[in-house]
Amino acid sequence: TVGAVARDTSGNIAAATSTGGLTGKRFGRVGDTAVIGAGTLADIRTCAVSATGAGEFYIRTAAASAIAARMRFGGESLQVAADAVQAEIREMGGSGGVIAVAPDGTPAWSFNTPGMYRGRARADGTLEIGIYGDE
């Protein structure tokens, strides 16, 4: 699974995700990527999120919407909300990660696996790429 979230100079945010799913998946199986609010979400009131991992868990927890709800109704920061939802998914036995961005441009990523292919760039010149969890 691959994905991107962005905040543009007009202040808008967007999310996109694309995947082949799971190796050996049953013909017809659909994961979280195409389920808006699970693996992909963009809502200017809260955040944009793109997820990767065991899609069934991200659907059952409505993961992207859960992060947005924690921000909107619980007042949590994006990073705190993203980490909390990944921890819940881990406790359920699921694994994966998310990338996210807030309307103010704050980026976040959170994953409960040893690694995640990831990168981020900002107008201030920040440009980071990572693979392993300890980077």
């Binding site: 967007a14 995700t17 793109s50 990660g97 292919y117 900002r122 693979i131």
Partner: protein, 174 residues
């Protein structure tokens, strides 16, 4: 306001310095960098967040090293079914497709659903037909195949044969 932000991912999993060679590490980082550059080019010229995420994801779909587009994993039947979604935060417009098999860049098909249909989610042969009607780049399903993913499917089938359940979620890896 000149501030912009772009974040990308190429999937999560059991990556470790023991399982990824230094060469593969470099190849993957270069691909991630290309995706960042594609999205950055849009944002730095005051383009839209929707254009930026589509551009970045399309680069990763075209790269054989990630599970999307060219390089996607095989299903148990030995074919490739692709899912994608895109969403605009300001309008809450969204487009998504699942089980598509012929569109080179599924993220572009998701965007076509968002912008040229009254729907949010199209699936299977209906999504493939909408892609043709929308004039998107069509490919054979074999375009998405790679030897690496075919070997993963074979290894999974061998392991599943041992577990007796071809759909045992525990023997799968994305």
């Amino acid at each position: 306001m000149t501030d912009w932000t772009l974040v990308i991912h190429g999937g999560s999993g059991a990556m470790s310095r023991d399982t990824i060679s230094a060469e593969q590490d470099g190849v993957q980082r270069q691909a991630l960098s290309r995706a960042l550059q594609a999205g950055k080019a849009v944002l730095a010229s005051s383009g839209s967040a929707v254009d930026a995420v589509e551009a970045a994801v399309a680069v990763l779909e075209d790269d054989p090293g990630f599970n999307a587009g060219h390089g996607a994993v095989f299903n148990a039947a030995g074919s490739i079914e692709l899912d994608a979604a895109i969403m605009d935060g300001r309008t809450l417009e969204a487009g998504a497709v699942c089980g598509t098999t012929r569109t080179r860049n599924p993220v572009r098909l998701a965007r076509a659903v968002m912008e040229r249909s009254p729907h949010v989610l199209l699936q299977g042969s209906g999504a493939d037909e909408f892609s043709r009607d929308s004039g998107l780049d069509q490919v054979e399903n074999s375009y998405f195949e790679t030897d690496e993913r075919r070997m993963q499917l074979e290894r999974m089938r061998e392991r599943a044969a041992g577990s007796g359940d071809v759909f045992d979620i525990d023997v799968k890896f994305g």
